[in-house]
Symmetry: C2
Subunit: 307 residues, 2 copies
């Protein structure tokens, strides 16, 4: 049994004749006749009783008519449902980012997802690069924003932006007065406050504490206990408020990279989230919250899903 045959059958039943149904269905009467015949053969009995004045639906035909109408309605419903599902991505997107990035990316992301893709569920976690990559590989994350790429065959990367890096110190620190620093200036700092995962300072600078998140790092620096390196987006509020002073390190940059697993299907929702993140990144650059060290702002990538 075929949906087409069902439609034809219903057409004939509703119009009470092959000829009338044929013109209504835009099909030749002969073709209609053959389809009904085939349907009757398959169902093992007559669906119509043929008379010289048209056809009448048999008892079994009545059953098929009622059920068939319902079935065709269902088919339309299902199609509409799938189409809606296609138009509107849905499902859960699990995103990881370091807290400093999360702070500025997550609020606008949540707002945009809610507005544009209300059926997408976001799980916004905070994780530094290593942990994020690990979770990506384990399938615990769909997408991550990481800092600095460490090559991995099972991940693919897309650079979001390269941010300018600033040295931060307590307010009105004389070393940072000039607003920018050289490599040499850096070597003569008293103490460094390092992030957990890397050591961007020259080896000459002693460090006494490592912190995971940028907020305690900034607090420590603000109280004059040491210096730290952060991109502008991580410090602009404190600098504006006079709680920190900052100097650009022109030779350094922090590369914000979008990472996603390879070899695992990427959901529409994840795709859209990726697009939104790039959009948000552009907005942040435009608003001066992210200061790029590169001219280009959003890096394009080859298409990933097409057919």
């Amino acid at each position: 049994m075929d949906l087409r045959q069902l439609r034809y059958f219903i057409g004939v039943a509703e119009r009470g004749g092959f000829g009338a149904a044929a013109s209504a269905l835009n099909i030749a009467q002969s073709a209609l006749s053959r389809h009904i015949k085939e349907l009757e053969r398959e169902l093992g009995g007559a669906l119509f009783t043929r008379t010289a004045r048209g056809v009448a639906v048999t008892e079994s035909g009545k059953v098929l008519l009622e059920r068939g109408r319902w079935l065709l309605g269902l088919v339309d419903d299902i199609k509409a449902e799938v189409r809606t599902e296609n138009r509107e991505p849905s499902g859960t997107v699990r995103l990881g980012a370091p807290s400093s990035v999360a702070e500025i990316f997550y609020p606008p992301l949540a707002r945009l997802i809610a507005a544009r893709f209300p059926r997408v569920q976001l799980e916004l976690g905070e994780a530094l690069t290593e942990l994020a990559c690990d979770r990506l590989l384990r399938g615990q994350l769909d997408l991550a924003i990481v800092t600095g790429p460490q090559p991995n065959d099972h991940l693919c990367y897309e650079t979001l932006v390269e941010e300018q890096v600033f040295l931060i110190g307590p307010p009105d620190d004389p070393k940072l007065k000039r607003g920018r620093m050289t490599v040499n200036d850096l070597k003569h700092l008293s103490r460094a406050v390092l992030p957990l995962s890397r050591t961007p300072f020259p080896p000459e600078v002693p460090s006494f504490v490592r912190v995971e998140s940028s907020t305690p790092m900034k607090r420590i620096v603000a109280s004059g206990l040491g210096y730290a390196l952060l991109p502008y987006s991580g410090i602009y509020q404190e600098v504006d408020a006079g709680q920190l002073s900052a100097a650009l390190l022109p030779w350094m940059s922090a590369e914000r990279v979008l990472a996603l697993p390879r070899g695992r299907p990427i959901s529409r929702a994840t795709q859209e989230t990726r697009t939104l993140l790039k959009e948000i990144c552009g907005d942040l650059i435009r608003d001066g919250i992210i200061r790029t060290s590169q001219r280009k702002r959003v890096i394009r990538q080859q298409r990933t899903s097409a057919h």
Copy 2:
């Protein structure tokens, strides 16, 4: 969207790959690929995400998978239902017969219908020939047993049986002693009890009452108030019980005819009822309840519904 495409889609989704599904579905992988592509085009989005290790179902694909399985189940249910309906006639059959015929035909008919076609609803009415034909024409009856055919373009007839006709009188009536009568004998009867619809007696015989049903007719005759004509099937019980005497009128016969409307579809249930009536008629002849005036017992007719 097509049921075949849906089956293919579900096959691919269940096996997690085109190749595996292709061999399971006995179709070439290329054809499968094309069908899925067409389905995706129609539904406006990808149903699978293709990877190098097979395919994964997208969010919209999951929806289609769930709904599609259900839909295919429904299709099977509907087919089974229609097939059952075809195997087992159903609906209502409205049958009309004169009370004397009803008396002997209806009980076995009801029994056989209940046993063989439990889904058929019988409406067994009592009506004499004229009324029955009128109701057939009005569509108030599907089938009728009538006595003596009056030609009508909108009815078609099928002779069930030609019954011997007996003259009945009170018990031990001397006129009926011989067991059979001649036309001349008939002319010298005192009084006749006539049926409502016709006058089978010669004009010489005076009549004083007309009755619709055979039961009062027999009662009147049994009390010696007159003579009447009835087929054997209508009197055998009273004759056996000695309440009536009867003499055969060899030159007469009562033709029991099955009448159905032309130009109106005949339901399977009606068809089966017709067949059963002929079967019952044969049984009654075999059991000696109906005595035929013809050698042939069940008259065949051309097929009425075929394709």
